[in-house]
Symmetry: C2
Subunit: 241 residues, 2 copies
Amino acid sequence: MMDAGICTLWITPGTPQMASNLKLKSIDIGNRASAGSIVYDSLRKAIIDGELDDGTPLRQDDIAYQFNTSRIPVREALSKLEQEGLVINRRYRGAVVAGISLREASEIFDFRILMESEVIAASVPKMTSASLSKARAYCDEFRRTDDSKKWSKLNRKFHYSLYRDSGLKYHLDMIDNALDRTERYVDTQLSISHGVEKAHREHLAILDACENGNAELAARLTREHISGVRDELLEHLGGGR
Amino acid sequence: MMDAGICTLWITPGTPQMASNLKLKSIDIGNRASAGSIVYDSLRKAIIDGELDDGTPLRQDDIAYQFNTSRIPVREALSKLEQEGLVINRRYRGAVVAGISLREASEIFDFRILMESEVIAASVPKMTSASLSKARAYCDEFRRTDDSKKWSKLNRKFHYSLYRDSGLKYHLDMIDNALDRTERYVDTQLSISHGVEKAHREHLAILDACENGNAELAARLTREHISGVRDELLEHLGGGR
DNA sequence: GTCAATAAAATTGGATCCAATTTACAATTT
DNA sequence: AAATTGTAAATTGGATCCAATTTTATTGAC
């Protein structure tokens, strides 16, 4: 018979019909990530964080070599990234990091204005105190940090913690993709023109509206907040490009 | 030297530096679709049209055999369909056609209400007479046809011809995906309760508002139109499920 | 030297093979 | 008979190979 201790390690956790009564510090071997998803996550992060410039060729062989795998999982990752609009795949010509035009960026910000104001308005009546305190913590951290790489991440976490209670998962997914496509262009632009200070003041106002249960105000402030970031981005990119 | 007639067939059309002066009914061999995209298109159509029930397993071998290809392009297609929310892929367990819950369907309709009212409002000031006459043609065809399979397609074409002039490509892509996820549930429901007659009256009203350049009215009517379809769908699905 | 035609190298798409995992089912125990 | 274990079949994930295509280098003509 198999050793009982090792055997229990193989139980897939979380399956309701077979809950183990043994409390062990076990690793979830069954749900470990596939090669493709690892490559996908890494590439996605690198593109969103702006570590790969627009137009950078993504050679299957190179990437496969870096991850010590074959080209099959790489192709899978590139295909997914294309669907998300982060890379462009051309038959027999390979993949490149997808750039974005000014008017595309502007449109995506308009999309966010529409989405996020709607979602926060739906969220306010359902908002828990846990979400609010989490949002406040991210808000504080956002102001304190100097690392421009972290601003977008904390900004994202702050807003998301105010949106989650809406329960609108489809809307949140759409917002996520919109942020993925534009995040890398915002960071550099926040560092100039005291963008962080302005953003923080606006965050505080939005947070205040949420705590007071004023959904309409929270929505309006969110609209104005995103609209302001959009205008500043367009101004800077418009000159620089 | 290579035969000139055959050679021109192999010229990739649309390349400005080398336009052929021979007018031949030639197939674009250079830009022909990849195996993966053919499988993808077929599966996508089958799922959207409701030919494959929710939860139907999609075996790689079966599909590869049907298209006389290997499993590699099939995997690619299934991966893309998963990103679009049309199939669910579970590691080592295969893919199934993705179903949708009542509250997911409801949320997607709410998303559409937001998107489509915004887009049509942006479109009206830019709308060309060509778009309007195209919309009217689809509107007529929608009422005349008895084929329940065609209603959704014509409905889609009608609305899309009113949205295109907005130039909001990102928004239109988002609308497309939302329609892809819900289309198959609407057809069966339109056939009962004189849904087509009601929809047609509403289409005429929207078209009228567009022709009069009344963007705000067109947006409001679009909101009400989609909202009505959503409520009817939820009523029927809520009873049937 | 410049341009086109040709050949070689690089790169991707797809087929086939093997490994990892799940599923179905028979054998065993209680 | 129900539950558990062990085994074989089915299925998917990934590696390697070959074909199709593009890109780059080379040659030749003018």
